[in-house]
Amino acid sequence: MSEYILDVTDVDKNFGGLRALSDINLRVKEGTVHAIIGPNGAGKSTLLNVIVGRLTPNRGRVLLGDQVLTGKHPYEINQLGVARVFQTPEIFPELSLLQNVMVPAFAKRDGEFKMGFLKSLFAEKEIREQAEHLLEDVGLIEHQDQIASSMSRGDKRRLELAMCLGQHPKLFLLDEPTAGMSRHDTNRTIELLQRIKERGMTKVIIEHDMHVVFSLADRISVLAQGAIICEGTPEEVRNDPRVKEAYLGGEAV
């Protein structure tokens, strides 16, 4: 029905007296990459938290296709097809890389709860192969039996990407996927994200690194002080005077 996969309408979020988000409207077309940029404290992560159900908005609603996400639990929202990578990688540190990728694959196949405790993990060939394939995709296959906590930060991020990709989400939210990465790792991640883009997965990406934003995004929204001040193609946003002001004006004060 709707041509937009993500439809955020009139969302407000207050923390006590602080208005973190005011009157946010955001529409993301299926198969596109939508970047959200803005200075620190603009409310970017808060917006993602509202979409994935960690926070409930004070006003407004969030739709995924035709389904209402507002008021649902994070696990329900994930089951509907929203996956997210975090600013600091949220992985399973005590499990091996392969197991890390298998757990989300099981969630995709089995749903939010399934007993089946007499079945052997060894017999789950399909899931294992799928997990190995994903690790290959992100270039971590040779470490598949290593414990996740022993990996570098960049590797953990790529692991988290693999975990989310295994769920084939309709909407993939990325919160600063290259923060704190070396140039080399950043380029590898961009390459990886570009490859995923070709598969037609819709992505919303928060990023500080303009290099990343301009090489990936189809559309950009600029968030400042909890409000969207400008939206358009990368070219339009680059030339918008309000964007320059939001970034530079904040620093000048």
Partner: protein
């Protein structure tokens, strides 16, 4: 702890075969240790079941319950009632004991699992103490209070009477179609049940369900954003471990048909935590080792007294023997808990992964020194699940 390679079913069959051989030959190889008497070996098996069940909850999900003795108690009371009302056969006793504990765990878990971390621990502790106090006083008609629930000559034993089994002058003993629940036959009943329990426990460890439980322990936040409703998983683990405790409790009643409230006290709940940590939380075999070691030393050390010690030191000058005996005497006999406390402290400080960590460290030491002397042998990091 390394849980990396996914174990194949063949490895597990080997695992079970070795464990069965070790357990069933216990009456032979425990003789040099002076532990080959049935009462103690039954305890090894029963507390082994209790501890592996506890490890399903604590080891896999990381939820530290401080109230598992309540399920042990419920299992015991139920089993004794089954002996009194239905039959001296152990099968109904074990089934009712396990099922009722499971239901009890469902109720306690429903409330306690609303919280995690320390609040979960305190809630379970509160429930267990409530159960203990109820059993001790208010529920005297069911539990026989302070005296404990015992068999009597005049018990109904409906099924036995229907089958034409009449009680003679002495009290009947629990039996499995004539195989008595005491002595060596009692040990083998316990051992068989322990092996069955262990097999199920092994399957849980190796299943996708077990992997998800471990993932909950590792990062519950991520589980939510990965589409899992964690509450039913935790609930299932809690009920399963409650049923294991119930089975252990019923077996305590099978080997000695009386049930007292002290079985539900917090010290009993603490004991299973101790056993699991001592052996190695989250490891497969650790809790069994922990149970064996604690029960062994409880029996050996608490049997020592001052005169035994004085005899042991009789080769020394009198004043020295006296002094040593009186110092060491603090750590044995009734004071064996002092030894246990010291050992526990040392383990937690130096080997947080318990005895299993000690074993795997030793293993690495041996295998690395072996590979350094033998250049041909390539060193491979051990990734097998202990």
């Amino acid at each position: 702890m390394t849980h990396t390679k996914i174990a194949s079913p063949k490895q597990d069959i080997l695992y079970m075969a070795i464990l069965s051989a070790v357990v069933l030959t216990m009456p032979i190889w425990l003789q040099p240790f002076g532990a080959a008497y049935p009462d103690l070996m039954q305890k090894f098996m029963i507390f082994g079941i209790f501890a592996i069940g506890y490890n399903i909850l604590f080891g896999l999900t990381g939820y530290l319950s401080f109230g598992h003795a309540a399920f042990l108690g419920v299992g015991s009371y139920t089993a004794v009632w089954s002996f009194k009302l239905l039959s001296m056969n152990v099968i109904p006793a074990l089934i009712f004991g396990t099922v009722l504990s499971g239901l009890f765990a469902l109720a306690i878990g429903f409330v306690s699992l609303r919280r995690s971390g320390i609040y979960f621990s305190i809630l379970t502790l509160a429930f267990a103490q409530m159960s203990y106090n109820l059993a001790y006083s208010v529920l005297t008609p069911i539990t026989n209070g302070e005296t404990g629930l015992q068999l009597t000559q005049g018990d109904a034993r409906v099924l036995d009477r229907m089958a034409g089994i009449q009680a003679d002058a002495s009290l009947p003993t629990p039996n499995l179609f004539g195989i008595e629940g005491i002595g060596y036959s009692g040990f083998y009943i316990c051992a068989a049940l322990m092996l069955i329990s262990f097999f199920i426990y092994l399957r849980i460890f190796r299943s996708p369900f077990g992997l998800k439980l471990r993932a909950i322990k590792s990062n519950q936040n991520r589980m939510g954003y990965t589409g899992y409703n964690t509450r039913p998983y935790l609930m299932t683990a809690f009920v399963i471990s409650g049923m294991y405790a119930g089975l252990a409790g019923s077996l305590l009643a099978v080997t000695d048909p009386l049930a007292g409230a002290e079985r539900m006290q917090w010290t009993a709940s603490g004991e299973v935590v101790l056993i699991t940590i001592l052996g190695g939380v989250g490891t497969l075999i650790g809790p069994l080792l922990g149970a064996g070691i604690i029960k062994y030393f409880e029996n050996i050390l608490s049997a020592f007294n001052d005169s035994v010690l004085q005899n042991a030191f009789s080769f020394l000058p009198d004043w020295l023997a006296h002094g040593l005996a009186s110092v060491l005497g603090l750590f044995v006999g009734d004071g064996w808990h002092l030894t246990l406390g010291l050992v526990f402290m040392l383990i937690v400080i130096f080997l947080p992964g318990g005895i299993m960590e000690g074993i795997s460290r030793l293993w690495r030491l041996v295998s690395s020194s072996a590979s350094s002397t033998d250049d041909k042998e390539k060193e491979q990091p051990s990734t097998k699940e202990a």
